[in-house]
């Protein structure tokens, strides 16, 4: 019999979760042995994976500060995962006291964890929803409570779109979100790619296969394909670049070679 719509899928913590793996890469302990096992397996192929995550975090931090500097006070972070440290709300609320932040994730454990972390923070909340269903995100009570869509919003799609297969129409979802945003809104995006990885592509594929094995395939896209997500946005300088090159605050040469894997960029709606 088909599962009724109102009964949620069961939670199986014996299956690795990408958000807990991400936490492990960042030195966190918000993870279980299955997650660590998968992470270690991927690291056999790409030992610098933690550095890629770290670069993502560092980029996000810079981009959120940039957005705050642009006068944006509302942040919608989709695919927020498990906020170990240096999260959007910490960065944003440090830069703009009272900044409003809504996290979105489809992993119920990540959502439950975020709820615990955000307890008492009236300006931040979390929605259990899926990037593939933008309507559910935009019409959620949390978004309606905290985000005024008539004013500019910083939309964070950091290290998430490479988990959405083309069959699920990630471009359509991104466009739908864009259409809901007021002029002057920012899209803050990073995406995995074979471009820039300091190991041969065959080795990188080994890591990609690990994600395939845990039923969370990693979709590596080319720079051009990633650039298409910014359709309808004006790119903020310096455009779509390896993460360390985006408005660096320290010398990019000092960065780990793995930090240059994939692309990051910020776009602004007209």
């Amino acid at each position: 019999m088909e599962r009724p719509a109102w009964a949620p899928r069961s939670i199986d913590i014996s299956v690795p979760s990408v958000s807990r793996i991400y936490d492990y890469y960042l030195g966190g302990s918000h993870n279980f042995e299955v997650d660590r096992e998968a992470a270690r397996k991927a690291m056999e192929f790409m030992p610098g994976l933690p550095k890629i995550m770290q670069a993502n975090r560092a980029f996000m931090r810079r981009a959120v500060r940039f957005a705050a500097g642009e006068g944006i006070t509302q942040f919608l972070d989709i695919g927020s995962g498990i906020p170990t440290f240096g999260n959007a709300h910490e960065v944003a609320q440090a830069a703009v006291p009272g900044a409003r932040v809504v996290y979105v994730d489809h992993d119920p454990v990540a959502v439950a964890h975020s709820q615990a972390v955000l307890a008492g923070n009236d300006a931040a909340d979390v929605v259990a929803a899926d990037l593939r269903k933008p309507k559910e995100i935009l019409s959620s009570p949390e978004v309606e409570r905290l985000i005024d869509l008539n004013r500019p919003v910083a939309l964070l799609l950091v290290a998430i779109l490479h988990f959405v297969e083309d069959a699920d129409d990630p471009y359509g979802a991104v466009a739908e979100l864009r259409d809901a945003l007021a002029p002057g809104s920012l899209l803050i995006l990073t995406h995995a790619s074979y471009e820039g990885i300091p190991v041969p592509a065959e080795r990188a594929e080994g890591a990609v296969d690990v994600y395939k094995d845990i039923r969370n395939p990693l979709i590596m896209r080319s720079r051009d394909e990633i650039a298409r997500f910014f359709e309808g946005y004006d790119m903020v300088e310096p455009g779509l670049v390896p993460m360390p090159h985006w408005r660096p605050e320290s010398a990019p040469e000092d960065e780990d070679p793995f930090a240059f894997s994939g692309f990051a960029g910020v776009g602004r709606t007209a």
């Binding site: 009724p4 109102w6 939670i11 966190g28 302990s29 918000h30 439950a112």
Partner: protein, 714 residues
């Protein structure tokens, strides 16, 4: 803060830079190098102070180690690098001048405490994070469990509240669960029901495939089945259900449970049975009715080769009289009694009695030896009717006519068999009733043809299939044609030309004789007028006359005289041109009412001829009160004169009749004259007119015209 070159502050900063450079690559912080270094600076300052402090402060050093964890240096490598750095550079950059032994020892102790502080903090943080993620997982699972619980509660409500019975059993047939509706239907408690096995519910009325379907399902070869099934209730009553059984499989697709959904159809079934009974039984007698009888008969007739059947078709004689004289209530009671007696006649298995309607009953016998059995059955039926039936204190004699059909299955339809029985029964009835007759194919065929002609009669008249032939009437004295007898014929599309003997009795039976007779009268009178117009009144012996036959039915029809007058007037023909022929037998026992129209005709000038005279019982005395002008001697009297010498007895009889007729002032016409000798003999005996093949066969009106012309010119 500006630092004096190589002053204590500058040295502290240089230590911090070395430390930061060593540790930064193994941290996972999102801070920049510069920010990270800024973060380490207060820790370095604290270490410097602790190095130079008067006493050793282990807690202070532990706090520095813990602070590293706070700066997200959770990789133990960060501790190793930190301690390396402290060991190598802290005393060098921060101890100041003077003896180094004391600071060295202090530095070692600081490192031990830092390591302990780091380990303690990392352990605390790890445990806290493990706890928080475990809690998050639990909460998330709790949400799912709650939703599942809610969903289960909904399903339970659906299960419990369902109006149809729902039960679940394992594949061995043990009942695991049943809802209230099912318990109510079965009249069992949940405990009792749970102890039962599905296989225990075998019922004598189970359809043959019931348990085969069950076995297929529990073996996983069938997903579901649907049938009607009966169950015994503990109180001895039977529960009828519409049962659907489905196989439930687990997530891997292996069969796990069987789910039964059942609807109580007991009452609907009883109602259906009652309706079926009512639809197939006669309300008055309780016997099977025509519908059920036909079903049975068809079943027997379709039973296949080698099977035979026997059927008795009974119609009570004179039942209408009972109804008319004693009333319908008495008639009904009579029928009930007859039904009871007939029922007791059908004793053997495979025998059945039914009421087809009215006073018609049938009895059917099947199985081997039907030829003998049907005779015995017929005999039992006739015997059953012998004893009078007492109604309202009167003993009524009941008689019946019985038609018997016996034969092999597979040759005829039920309708054909019943028609044969019906025809045979009518033969018994025509033969006087109170008897049985055995079906005979030839008699059936005749009856069927007769029936066909009867039903075709009305349209035949409309379509103009009838025509009239005329046979001349010749004056024996001078041989002149005096008139003709109109004889009606039917040109049947299939059977060709049919004489009146084939259809007049049928027309009399159905009443069609009245319109047909009128048509004959009209046609004949029209013809008479045509003749008169051609020959005028100049024929030697007066105008040609037309003889038309009248049937007894016509005679009793009230419009006969007026119709005839109208026809004559319309045609402009004088009544004396018409002679109506009435058979002697039609007038036997005739009362004055029946004779009235004849008197009217006679008064008008229409002649009346007494046809077929001598075939009835020739009540000569009767002749006096009949308005008859002509006697038509039956051909049986003239047959004896065809030979030579003529039969002397016949001669005497004819001579006597002629003499009697003439003395009563009646003319005598003879029929069936076939030879000249006959004609001559009859002339000598004094007969007035004759008709027969000797003169002419019946033919079209033109022929008569020719004869008349010959006569006129000769």
């Amino acid at each position: 803060m500006s630092a004096e070159p190589d002053g204590p502050e500058d040295r502290l900063r240089r230590f911090t830079t070395i430390w930061s450079r060593a540790v930064y690559p193994v941290t996972s912080t999102s801070l920049t190098r510069a920010e990270f270094e800024q973060r380490l600076l207060p820790l370095a300052r604290r270490l410097s102070e602790l190095l130079r402090a008067h006493g050793f402060d282990a807690d202070g050093a532990k706090a520095v180690g813990a602070a590293l964890v706070g700066a997200h240096c959770t990789d133990p490598e960060a501790l190793a690098r930190t301690l390396d750095c402290v060991d190598a550079y802290l005393v060098l950059y921060c101890a100041g001048d003077g003896p180094q032994d004391e600071p060295r020892i202090r530095c070692s102790r600081l490192q031990h405490a830092m390591a302990a502080g780091y380990a303690e903090a990392l352990r605390r943080r790890t445990l806290a994070e493990q706890e928080s993620i475990a809690q998050a997982a639990l909460r998330a699972q709790g949400v799912v469990a709650q939703a599942l619980h809610a969903s289960e509660a909904r399903f339970r409500a659906v299960f419990e509240g369902a109006a149809i019975g729902v039960g679940i059993a394992d594949l061995d047939g043990h009942v695991l669960q049943a809802n209230q509706a099912l318990l109510r239907m079965f009249g069992l408690s949940e405990q009792t029901l749970r102890g039962r096995r599905v296989q225990d519910w075998v019922h004598p009325e189970d359809a043959p495939q019931t348990w085969k379907l069950y076995d297929e399902l529990v073996r996983g070869e069938r997903e579901h089945y649907h049938l009607e099934k009966a169950f015994n209730r503990p109180d001895g009553t039977v529960l009828w259900t519409n049962l659907t059984v489905s196989l439930l499989r687990d997530a891997d697709g292996s069969p796990q449970y069987q789910l039964a959904l059942m609807e109580d159809t007991t009452e609907r079934r009883l109602l259906n049975l009652r309706l079926r009974y009512e639809a197939t039984h006669d309300a008055l007698t309780g016997l099977p009715n025509r519908t059920l009888f036909f079903e049975r008969l068809e079943k027997v007739l379709n039973a296949g080769e080698g099977q035979r059947f026997g059927l008795c078709y009974l119609d009570l004689d004179g039942f209408k009289t009972v109804n008319d004289s004693l009333g319908h209530a008495a008639g009904d009671r009579l029928l009930v009694e007859v039904a009871d007696r007939l029922q007791s006649c059908a004793t053997a298995p495979g025998e059945m009695v039914a009421r087809l309607g009215g006073d018609e009953f049938v009895a059917l016998t099947t199985g081997p030896g039907t030829a003998r059995k049907v005779d015995e059955l017929a005999e039992r039926i006739m015997n059953a009717l012998i004893t009078p039936i007492s109604i309202d204190g009167r003993d009524l004699m009941v008689r019946g006519s019985l038609g018997i059909v016996e034969g092999p299955a597979g040759e005829r339809t039920a309708a054909e068999v019943l028609r044969s029985a019906d025809i045979t029964m009518y033969r018994a009835k025509s033969a006087g009733g109170n008897r049985s007759e055995l079906a005979d194919p030839e008699a059936d065929a005749r009856a069927i043809t007769r029936h066909g002609l009867t039903t075709a009669l009305p349209t035949a008249l409309e379509r103009g299939e009838f025509f009239i032939e005329y046979q001349p009437l010749v004056h024996l004295g001078d041989g002149s044609v005096r008139g003709a007898e109109a004889l009606v014929r039917w040109l049947h599309p299939q059977h060709g030309v049919l004489g009146p003997d084939r259809f007049i009795p049928l027309a009399e039976h159905t009443g069609l004789i009245v319109p047909l007779g009128r048509w004959v009268l009209e046609e004949s009178i029209r013809q008479a007028r045509a003749w008169r117009e051609r020959h005028g009144e100049d024929a030697a012996a007066g105008p040609l006359r037309i003889n038309v036959n009248l049937s007894p039915c016509q005679l009793s029809h009230p419009g006969l005289v007026q119709d005839t007058v109208d026809i004559l007037e319309r045609a402009g023909v004088a009544p004396d041109a018409l002679c109506l022929e009435v058979t002697e037998s039609a007038l036997i026992g005739a009362d004055d009412d029946l004779l009235k129209p004849l008197h009217r005709f006679a008064e008008m000038g229409v002649d009346i001829a007494l046809d077929d005279f001598g075939t009835g019982y020739s009540n000569l005395a009767n002749l006096r009160r009949l308005p008859v002008r002509i006697l038509k001697l039956d051909r049986s009297f003239t047959r004896g004169m065809q030979q030579f010498p003529a039969d002397p007895v016949d001669l005497k009889i004819v001579e006597g009749i002629v003499s009697l007729a003439h003395s009563l002032d009646l003319a005598v016409t003879v029929e069936g004259v076939e030879t000249g000798a006959q004609a001559e003999q009859l002339r000598i005996l004094g007969c007035d007119t004759a008709q027969g093949w000797y003169y002419a066969r019946p033919g079209p009106p033109e022929r008569l015209h020719d004869l008349a012309l010959v006569d006129a010119t000769g």
